[in-house]
C-alpha cells in the first residue's frame, strides 16, 4: 500500500525554477493496479522518483506500507520493486548475473536468488536469454531483464515507469498479463503511462496528472460519471484539457 499526500517538487535550472510537481496525492491499494496517466512532462516520473526515495519531496508525505521514506528510506527500498524510467542493464553481464547482482545487494541468499530467478524467468518467458550476455538484447529482452531485476526480492509494492515504452505488440501484451499476475498475487502495483488505452485496459484505479497536479482520479466508471462522457478516452481528454502529449 502506497499513500502520497500533497507532493511538491521543484528544480532549479539555469533558466529559473521549474515546478515539476505541485500537489500530487493518491492512494494505491494492495491487490490493485493504480495507473498514473498524463502527457509527457506532466510530472509522472518525478512523482514516482519521490515514491522510490530517489528524490525528497519539497513538501508533502509519502507512506509505503506505513513507513515514511523520509525517516527510513532503506526499509522503503526493501519494500519496493522499481522499474525506473532509466533502465540500463550491464551489457557485459548475462541476464542472470544482472538479476543476481541486485539480489545480492538486497542481501538474498544464493539459493533464494536461484529460486526467484527461476520463478521470474518462467513468468516473463525469458529462459532462452537468461544466460546470454545482454549486449545486443532487443528492447523487449532488456525490459524483461530490468523487470526481473526489479522484482527479484519479491517486493509487496511494485512501481513501473512506462513499462511498455518501446515494446512491440506481442511483448506489450505479455507485459500486461504479467501486471495482472502481480495484482492477483496481492501486490500493490503503480505504473505510469501516457497511453490512454493501456491505462483503460489495465487499471483498477486511475490517477490523471497534468501540469504537476492531479486533475482527476477514481475507477474507470467514476471517471466516466464525473465527466459525463461515455468513453474513457473522451473523459481523459476532457479532464486534461487537451489530448496533446497523450497517445490513444
Amino acid at each position: 500500500m502506497i499513500v502520497a499526500r500533497d507532493l511538491h517538487k521543484s528544480f532549479r535550472t539555469r533558466t529559473g525554477t521549474v515546478q515539476a510537481v505541485s500537489g500530487v496525492g493518491f492512494e494505491a491499494r494492495d491487490g490493485q493496479i493504480t495507473g498514473l496517466l498524463g502527457p509527457n512532462g506532466a510530472g509522472k516520473t518525478t512523482t514516482l522518483r519521490m515514491l522510490y526515495t530517489l528524490m525528497r519531496p519539497d513538501r508533502g508525505q509519502i507512506e509505503v506500507d506505513g513507513i515514511d521514506p523520509a525517516r527510513d528510506p532503506m526499509a522503503v527500498r526493501r519494500a519496493l520493486g522499481v522499474l525506473p524510467d532509466a533502465r540500463g542493464i550491464y551489457k557485459r553481464l548475462t541476464a542472470r548475473e544482472n538479476i543476481a547482482y541486485f539480489a545480492r545487494l538486497h542481501g538474498m541468499s544464493a539459493a533464494r536468488t536461484a529460486e526467484r530467478i527461476a520463478t521470474l524467468s518462467a513468468a516473463l518467458d525469458m529462459d532462452d536469454i537468461l544466460d546470454r550476455q545482454t549486449e545486443g538484447f532487443s528492447q523487449g529482452q532488456r525490459t524483461k531483464t530490468a523487470i526481473a531485476r526489479a522484482l527479484v526480492h519479491d517486493p509487496r509494492n511494485v512501481i513501473l515507469d512506462e513499462p511498455t515504452n518501446g515494446l512491440d505488440v506481442m511483448t506489450t501484451r505479455a507485459m500486461r498479463q504479467f501486471l495482472f499476475r502481480l495484482r492477483d498475487e496481492g501486490r500493490c502495483v503503480i505504473f505510469s503511462s501516457h497511453i490512454m488505452q493501456e491505462v483503460a485496459a489495465l487499471c483498477d484505479r486511475i490517477v490523471i496528472i497534468a501540469k504537476g497536479q492531479v486533475v482527476a482520479s477514481g475507477t474507470a466508471d467514476e471517471l466516466r460519471a464525473q465527466t459525463g462522457e461515455a468513453s474513457l478516452e473522451d473523459a481523459f481528454v476532457k479532464v486534461i484539457g487537451s489530448g496533446e502529449g497523450l497517445q490513444a
Binding site: P84, R87, G88, Y90, L105, H106, Q133, A146, R149
Partner: protein, 393 residues
C-alpha cells in the same frame, strides 16, 4: 546487510565487468608494462651508443690554418682527432650542424711558438647544440695535454723540474654512493611514470563505473536498491584500486626485468624484490588519491566524454614536481613529504638511490597522503549521496 558486504558485492561486480572487456583490460594492464622496458632499454641503449661513438670514434675536425702547426696536427692524430682543411664558411657550417666542432690556428701561431709565448688555438663550437659537448671537450682536452707536454719539455730543457710549475694538483672525490650514481639516470623519468601509473591506473574502470554507468542509465536502478550509497561508491573505488594495483605491479616487474636485460648504467639500478615492494607501498596512497579524485570528477561530470576530458590535465599533474626539481633542484626537506606528487617523487628517489627513509618522514608521508585520499573519498561519497547524481536524463 552491512556496508562491507555491499562494498564487496559491488567490487566483485565491477571487476567481473571489466574482466569481460578484454580490450580495455589489455590496454590498461599491458600498455604501461610494455612501455617501461621500451623506454628504459631504448633510452639507455641510445645514450650509451652516442657516448661510445662520440668519445671513441675518430673525430674529424675542420681546421683553419692547418699547415701552420704540423706537429700539433700529428699529436692530435695520435689522440684519434684528425684535423682536415676547413671549408670556406666554417662558422656557418657549425651553426648549421654540418660540422660538430672546428679549430682555428691563427697566422701568428708559428711566431708565438718559436718565441715561447702562449700560442693561441681556438676551438670553434656552438655551445647551444647539445651534440657538440663531447667532441668539443675531446678537442680541448687534447690541446691541453699537448700544451702541458710541450711546456714540461721546455722546462726540462732549461733544467727545471716541471712539477714546480704545478703549484696545485686539484682533484675531485665523488662521495655519491654507487646506488645513487646508478639511480641518477632515471631520476627524472622513472618517478613520473610510476606516479602516473599509480595515479591513473584505475582510470578505465572508474570512468566506466561512474560516468559510464550514469550514461548507460543503470545508475538509477542501482540507487533504488537498499544498498548504502557510500558502500556502492567505495566498492567502485576499491575495484579501481585493485585494477590499478595490478597495473602497478606489472609495471614494476617489467621495470625489474628490463633493468636486468639492459646494459650499462640502467642495469645497475636497485630493483631487488624488497625495493619493488617498497615502491609499491609508497605508491599505494597515490593510487587511492587518484581513483577517489577520478570518481569525484567523473561523478560530477555530465557525460562520459566530459569525464574523459579531465584526463588531459590529470596526466600533467604528477609531472609538476619533476619539472620543478629539474629546473630548481632543492635539498630534501621534511615538508616535501607532505606535498602530493612531490612526496612520492622524493620517496621513490630515495628507494631507487637505496637511501634510508626516517620514521618521521614515513609518518609525514603516510599521514598526509592517506589524509588527502580520505578527504577525496569522503567527497566522492558525499557526491553519491546527492539527489542530482542519480538523474541521468
Amino acid at each position: 546487510m552491512n556496508a562491507l558486504t555491499t562494498m564487496w558485492i559491488v567490487m566483485c561486480k565491477e571487476l567481473r565487468d571489466i574482466l569481460r572487456d578484454r580490450r580495455t583490460l589489455v590496454l590498461t594492464l599491458v600498455m604501461g608494462p610494455l612501455l617501461f622496458p621500451a623506454i628504459m632499454l631504448g633510452m639507455g641503449a641510445l645514450t650509451e651508443k652516442k657516448l661510445r661513438t662520440q668519445s671513441e670514434k675518430e673525430l674529424e675536425v675542420p681546421t683553419i690554418g692547418l699547415e701552420r702547426a704540423p706537429n700539433l696536427v700529428a699529436f692530435l692524430a695520435t689522440q684519434g682527432i684528425r684535423a682536415v682543411p676547413a671549408p670556406e664558411d666554417l662558422e656557418q657550417a657549425i651553426r648549421e650542424q654540418r660540422v660538430e666542432v672546428g679549430m682555428h690556428i691563427p697566422e701568428e701561431f708559428a711566431a708565438d711558438w718559436r718565441a715561447g709565448r702562449p700560442a693561441l688555438v681556438e676551438v670553434l663550437v656552438d655551445t647551444t647544440q647539445r651534440d657538440s659537448a663531447i667532441p668539443a671537450s675531446r678537442v680541448q682536452g687534447a690541446l691541453r695535454a699537448y700544451g702541458a707536454q710541450v711546456g714540461a719539455l721546455r722546462l726540462l730543457a732549461r733544467g727545471v723540474d716541471a712539477s714546480v710549475a704545478q703549484a696545485l694538483n686539484p682533484g675531485t672525490r665523488d662521495v655519491a654512493t654507487d646506488a645513487a650514481r646508478r639511480g641518477r639516470v632515471l631520476a627524472f623519468i622513472l618517478p613520473y611514470f610510476m606516479i602516473l601509473t599509480g595515479f591513473l591506473g584505475g582510470m578505465a574502470l572508474v570512468l566506466d563505473a561512474t560516468a559510464g554507468e550514469r550514461e548507460r542509465q543503470s545508475l538509477e536502478p542501482l540507487l533504488a536498491t537498499p544498498a548504502a550509497r557510500g558502500a556502492i561508491v567505495s566498492g567502485k573505488i576499491a575495484a579501481a584500486c585493485i585494477l590499478g594495483l595490478a597495473t602497478l605491479l606489472l609495471s614494476l616487474l617489467a621495470l625489474k626485468s628490463s633493468a636486468l636485460m639492459a646494459t650499462g648504467i640502467t642495469r645497475q639500478m636497485d630493483v631487488s624484490m624488497l625495493a619493488i615492494a617498497k615502491m609499491l607501498f609508497v605508491l599505494l596512497p597515490i593510487l587511492l588519491v587518484g581513483t577517489s579524485l577520478l570518481t569525484l570528477l567523473a561523478a560530477s561530470a555530465k557525460s562520459l566524454k566530459e569525464a574523459q576530458s579531465h584526463i588531459t590535465w590529470l596526466m600533467l599533474l604528477p609531472m609538476i614536481p619533476s619539472l620543478v626539481l629539474m629546473a630548481n633542484p632543492v635539498k630534501t626537506e621534511a615538508w616535501q613529504f607532505a606535498v602530493p606528487f612531490l612526496a612520492q617523487n622524493q620517496m621513490l628517489l630515495r628507494i631507487i638511490r637505496a637511501e634510508a627513509v626516517s620514521p618521521r618522514e614515513w609518518a609525514i608521508y603516510l599521514g598526509c597522503s592517506l589524509g588527502l585520499a580520505l578527504l577525496l573519498w569522503g567527497a566522492a561519497v558525499l557526491r553519491y549521496r546527492q539527489e542530482k547524481l542519480a538523474i541521468s536524463t
